[in-house]
Amino acid sequence: MGITFRKETFRDDFTFKNSPEHIRRFPFPFHEDSYMYAVNIEPHVLGPKGSVLETLIDVDEHYVAEMQDRALVLAEDPLRCQSLPHMTLAGWDLLELLMEQQALGYPEHFTLTRDGDRWRWINRPLGIDDSFTFGDVSTLPYGPMEYITRQSQGDFCILDQRDGNLWMDAGMVTTQADWSLDFDIGMNFFEWHAPVPLAHEKGIFVRALKFLTNIQQGKPARRLNWTMTINPRLDTSPENYHKWGPDRTTVTPENVGDKVHLRVELQSFWRLPRSNGIVFPIRCYLIKMDELVTQPKWARRLHRVIRDLPEELANYKGLTRYRATLVEWLSKLDDGSPTSPGFGPD
């Protein structure tokens, strides 16, 4: 049967919505009624049917609209996609990974045929049918990383591993939560995490780096991260802060349900075979409060999490201006009854 792709926008009139099935599969990130940083990394293995983990690279009803939004971002700002000269081989690794995974998970939408280094890639939702030579950049319309990430949901950072550290040396970043590839390119793991509060004191980054540099081929890992966004805007970049920053002053008790979105990142980590680099897909899922509170457990739990969030974290996540309004709105949906363990809706 296949996915019915929605026609929708992530800017201007903001027509983005989740279907009822997609609300239930939303990767709600809180397994208990409070939140603090932890090294919440686990093996990236298949999850239950009907969840975003049904495949390891998830394609959903927003695929076509997200790819159109990415093309708009790139047309305005080509520096959202960068690859340092030594990262081309890693780009081919990523192209192979994404083509294989998308074709495996969604054969009705994607087909990959390989005959040695002669490859043919069919992407039906985007109307693409290209034959090319694997490893030969001149046979594709873009570099390998840009080519495949214009056809894959989520941002992608490719990290070079050397000197016991990871280096942000390539990426396609157009759906980010207020960070910039152009700013971070070439930085190492500690440099690009420097702005994150509290976590350094806990030694989290030292342990996380140790874990990531030991990620093995065939054994990807994942974690969830979250923030909140006003309006369903994918591109909340520092470069466009003037467009979305002021949105945070527009939240009122009347429009919370429609304007405030929980933004969840499913981050995964994969060892790349030829380059020995790591690719770090950051897949963004958005859900507006009106949609989220259709699941009473999530409404109660989100109220408690946002209410009790430490001040530094609320600031870092940019919630400060509308936090009180949001907590007040959510409090009406929290009768104080207990929530069941685990992430999923009841």
């Binding site: 093995q216 065939g218 020995n276």
Partner: protein, 321 residues
């Protein structure tokens, strides 16, 4: 979570004697599929069922990373070793089913390098076989200096000469040919990275000279898997699992822990990757540290041990396992 590797079920597709000490083994997947792609410098851990014992030895992949129909490793027979290489030479035959790990690369090329300068000693040539194949296919700039005892023990010297001609320079100990290391290290273009694999004396010599001549440490790469050394048996208490074990003369501490049914994570089993690092809870005696992972300060602190290669002499040792 465990950070070990996934296993591959393989069949030995060929066994080829290369010279009087070295034999090459070819593996294919039992299900006929392609093997995982790998990068030059990667190794696999080969599981050997030797009677009651399971031996797990790391070997560099030496085939071209572009051809994943089969993996090849070369094993140098070590008559004084603990028996892994002898098992490979004496018992492994074409058609035998074996289990190997997914490839792991702890000796990766730095792809930023403008030039790759490679120094190999003896069987240390094997990772460079794959790295040169990878670089040659991409038009990469490399130069290989390879020292061996005699021409007949110059494993793959002929193959490398034929493939890469003037990019390979050979040195034979029996003809008193020596790498002019200082001259070589002083005459490299900006952006050169140095790679060395061979006996520990050679690695130490090259690293020392490179440091003395001002090479930044980030540009000097080396791979030295220590083989676990035999030693006097010793007793260990595993505090978490509540077990008491004895480490035999020919056994490594890691192997003894595994034989007791406790499985610490590992990747290299040669004191390099850091996975099996173990906390010491109490001890009365002396550590024999053989790893390249812990710092000298950590060695002196007696608070950690790498059970894959290090041993202990004394009355009692309690580990957090």
């Amino acid at each position: 979570m465990s950070t070990g590797t996934t296993k591959l079920d393989v069949v030995v597709s060929d066994v080829v004697p290369v010279n009087e000490l070295v034999t090459r083994f070819h593996f294919r997947r039992r299900d006929g599929q392609l093997l995982p792609t790998f990068s030059g410098g990667a190794h696999v851990v080969v599981e050997m069922r030797d009677g009651e014992r399971t031996r797990l030895n790391p070997y560099s992949l030496m085939g071209s990373p572009l051809d994943t129909r089969e993996y090849t490793i070369s094993v140098r027979r070590d008559d004084a070793g603990r028996g892994g290489s002898l098992f490979m030479h004496r018992h492994v035959r074409p058609g035998m089913e074996m289990v190997i790990s997914y490839p792991v690369n702890l000796f990766s090329l730095d792809l930023r390098a403008r030039k790759h300068l490679m120094l190999a000693g003896g069987i240390g040539i094997t990772p460079f076989m794959a790295q040169t194949a990878q670089l040659a296919a991409e038009g990469g700039n490399f130069e290989l200096h390879y020292t061996c005892r005699t021409a007949s023990l110059g494993t793959y010297a002929d193959v490398l000469k034929e493939r890469y001609d003037r990019r390979v320079r050979l040195y034979h100990d029996d003809r008193d040919e020596r790498i002019e290391l200082d001259r070589l290290l002083s005459s490299q273009p900006l952006g050169t990275h140095l790679y060395v694999c061979g006996p520990s004396g050679m690695i130490g010599w090259v690293r020392d000279r490179a440091a003395a001549l001002g090479w930044p440490t980030e540009t000097v790469h080396f791979e030295h898997f220590a083989a676990p050394q035999p030693g006097a048996p010793f007793d260990v208490t595993l505090a978490l699992s509540g077990k008491s074990i004895r480490v035999g003369e020919q056994q490594s501490l890691l192997e003894a822990i595994e034989a007791a049914g406790v499985d610490p994570p590992y990747l290299c089993r040669g004191g390099v990757c850091g996975q099996c690092e173990t906390n010491v809870i109490a001890h009365d005696g002396k550590f024999i540290h053989n790893d390249h992972w812990l710092s000298e300060e950590e060695h002196r602190s007696c608070k950690k041990i790498m059970p894959c290669v290090s041993r202990f002499e004394g009355r009692s040792l309690v580990l957090e396992r």
